[in-house]
């Protein structure tokens, strides 16, 4: 046997080593949401109060009659009411003088679309909540319909590529940037290929939530909806970061910083190739996609340069 390596730094961030879930959960093989869900309480702790809503997380987070799949305190909101219910819970605990970490955990369908108004409201009021979005770029649980974080050109069940369509005709909403623009105490992007970075951000979230609103946007590819191989999901995350399609940054009280600067960014075509929701894209469309990636990254870079 070869010489033992020291355990990765990420373990140092774990408040809990055992996750509070049952061993067998109804998430697809290779699901990045499963990894995210099991990862979050390891860093944030098991005594959080979790607020969620319908979506891919619901079949695991919601009880079924009396039964449940996990041991966390959980509040099931409607998609329209996650950040607002969490606000109420958080305000009550503050009034009662109790130090409780309230964590929202939803998909992009909630954060970017139907739950955006309360999210924006909670951010503006600087509520003491950690809001985590797992962004699989669509409404996956209901059959891979497009959401406003679905990227330009993606073929989804409601923007299918066909003889008369090239997939989604508009670009994605940049939710973490919108949250940072609202002046939240702490905003960060994270993904599953860079777990040290993710853990560090979650640990920071736990501290920053004492000051106000925290938002973490996790890039979480969907094996089924994106039509990728089950064993490729982590690699897809890595490729997204390496192509600057999903840059890893954080903004603390409006000050931006890249937490992982990619020395030699890869062409986005490499990221698009194994993701079959993009398989219909032609050369010219991939060029357009690259331009969009470059322009978005340039904006983040500029923001990081602001003192």
């Amino acid at each position: 046997m070869t010489q033992q390596k020291k355990k990765p730094k990420v373990f140092e961030y774990f408040r809990e080593t055992k996750d509070p879930y049952a061993g067998g959960l109804a998430w697809c093989a290779g699901c990045t949401l499963e990894l995210t869900a099991r990862f979050v309480p390891k860093v944030l702790g098991k005594d959080i109060v979790l607020v969620g809503c319908p979506g891919c997380s619901a079949p695991v987070f919601y009880g079924q009659n009396l039964g449940t799949w996990h041991r966390m305190s959980y509040f099931s909101a409607l998609m329209t009411g996650v950040a607002s219910s969490a606000t109420g819970i958080s305000r009550y605990y503050r009034k009662a003088g109790r130090d409780v970490t309230v964590v929202c955990f939803t998909g992009d369908g909630c954060s970017a679309d139907v739950g955006f108004q309360p999210l924006s409201g909670a951010a503006e009021r600087n509520e003491h909540i950690i809001y985590i979005t797992y962004d699989n770029e669509g409404y996956m649980n209901t059959g891979y319909q497009r959401s406003s974080t679905t990227p330009l050109g993606a073929s989804t069940s409601t923007t299918p590529a066909g003889a008369a369509s090239r997939g989604k005709p508009t670009s994605a909403k940049n939710v973490p940037l919108l949250m940072a623009m609202q002046g939240a105490a702490y905003v960060a992007t994270a993904t599953l290929s860079h777990l040290d970075d993710f853990a560090k951000k979650l640990a920071k979230a736990r501290e920053k939530v004492k000051e106000g609103f925290v938002y973490i946007h996790v890039f979480a590819p969907c094996v089924m909806g994106w039509r990728i191989e089950p064993d490729a999901s982590i690699e897809i995350c890595r490729m997204a970061v390496r192509a600057n399609y999903f840059p890893l940054w954080e903004a603390e009280n409006g000050r931006f910083r890249l937490t992982h600067e990619v020395a030699s960014p890869r062409p986005v075509a490499e990221f698009l190739k194994p993701v079959r929701k993009f398989s219909h894209l032609k050369e010219a469309e991939i060029v357009e996609f690259q331009e969009m990636v470059d322009q978005r990254y340039a904006v983040i870079k500029k923001l990081c340069a602001v003192e």
Binding site: P20, K46, D47, I48, V49, V51, A58, F61, Y62, G63, Q64, N65, L66, T68, H70, R71, M72, S73, Y74, F75, S76, A77, L78, T80, G81, A83, S84, S85, A86, T87, G88, I89, R91, Y92, Y93, R94, K95, A96, R98, V100, T101, Q117, P118, S120, G121, E124, R125
Partner: protein
């Protein structure tokens, strides 16, 4: 009466609502402005700004959030309060249903206004009707003092261990919301004492950080049916519970309102006028005048709309010769008043007697003394066997 006499202030219905809420010491309250109840939010904010209210006030970005915030806070263990009207109520509709499913003991005041469908910034009870199937307890009050007092009673009712249901306290927008009358503000210590029995009951289930309890489980098959059944049964229990609380309130504060219904000159009444809200007050004046003329008419004021006080109403209406029902709203699909429609369902208990539906008071058109006098006359004629019109839209026949 045990409570001290409180200070009398000349304040609007909205302000009375704010005082009622303040006296009950909510942990979390939300506010979003909508005519005609914006003043409730302003008053509460003012109380807070002046150190009179130690409540987490959340100035939400919309009514949907107003309800979700208090629902979350309630299920975390807090006493909560919110207020809205018509369109705001529509916007929070999903959250309103959700809150009842949680069995969150929220108290919400609604300054009644015409509901969406036709834009109107005017009074009516359509908003009450639009949410009658959400699982909430719905109470309707007649005047300012009753607003304040009913809010206190609403907390006793909502948070009662046997009930655990949210309560809407409805009052006429524009009429009661803006009308200033002399209202006795109870002393804080007395309100505390009146609500203290709740502390002696077993605590309801609330969120417990670190404990594996999930609020709002997915109801599956029989589990769902059971939860629905429990909601319905609890709602039914609220009727008698309200009467009990109203009696206690009367003993303690010296003011009581009848609970589910209030009967005026009903003992020997041959004909009955059924009304709710401010119109009931006007009706009393007409009843007295008609009695002078020898008409044996009585008023049945409907205070509790959900649960529908069927037993009380059946007892009160049995044996009468004719009944007139004044609705400040419309019943879509039946083309008559909604309260009239529900009273008709009591025919097996009260017998087939002429029942006349009057739709009046929509869009801030007043329900006047002459209008109600006409109701009494027509109901009286029907009682004597003369032909009558089943449904009358009074404003259109003016």
């Amino acid at each position: 009466m045990i409570a001290q006499r409180g200070k009398v202030r000349v304040i609007t219905g909205n302000a009375a609502a704010a005082y009622g809420a303040m006296l009950c010491r909510p942990d979390v309250a939300t506010s979003y402005p909508i005519t005609p109840m914006s003043e409730v939010a302003e008053q509460l904010s003012s109380f807070r700004a002046n150190g009179l209210l130690d409540t987490e006030m959340v100035e939400v970005e919309g009514e949907n959030s107003a309800m979700n915030v208090v629902a979350g806070a309630s299920m975390a263990g807090g006493r909560v309060f919110t207020a809205t009207s018509s369109w705001g109520l529509s916007f929070m509709y999903d959250a309103v249903q959700h809150a009842a499913g949680f069995r969150a003991p929220i108290v919400m005041v609604i300054a009644n206004r015409e509901s969406p469908g036709i834009l109107a910034v005017s009074g009516g009870q359509q908003d009450i009707i639009s949410v009658r199937d959400t699982g909430w307890i719905q109470l309707i009050v007649e005047e300012g003092q009753e607003i304040l007092d009913t809010i206190i009673m609403a907390y006793r009712l909502a948070e009662d261990h046997d009930i655990q249901l949210p309560v809407m306290v409805n009052y006429d927008g524009f009429y009661l919301s803006y009308m200033a009358t002399g209202i006795e503000i109870p002393e804080q210590a007395d309100v505390d004492a009146f609500l203290a029995p709740l502390k002696r009951q077993p605590p309801r289930q609330v969120l417990e950080p670190g404990v594996a309890l999930g609020c709002g489980t997915h109801g599956i098959e029989l589990g769902f049916v059971e939860l629905r059944y429990r909601q319905c049964v609890a709602l039914e229990r609220a009727a008698d519970k309200l009467d009990e609380i109203d009696r206690n309130f009367g003993e303690y504060f010296g003011r009581s309102y009848g609970g589910q219904t209030d009967e005026y000159r009903m003992d020997d009444a041959e004909i009955v006028v059924v009304a709710s809200g401010g119109a009931a007050g006007t009706a009393r004046v007409v009843i007295d005048a008609k009695r002078e003329e020898g008409v044996k008419v009585g008023l049945l004021k409907l205070r509790m709309f959900r649960p529908f006080p069927r037993r009380r109403l059946a007892e009160a209406l049995k044996g009468r010769k004719a009944i007139g029902v004044i609705d400040r709203s419309v019943g879509f699909g039946w083309n008559c008043g909604p309260m009239y429609m529900e009273l008709r369902a009591l025919t097996p208990e009260i017998g087939i007697v002429p029942m006349l539906s009057y739709i009046d008071g929509l869009a801030n058109l007043d329900i006047t003394i002459p209008h109600i006098a006409r109701v009494v006359d027509e109901v009286n004629a029907a009682a004597q066997g003369k032909p009558y019109q089943e449904v009358t839209w009074i404003p259109l026949e003016q």
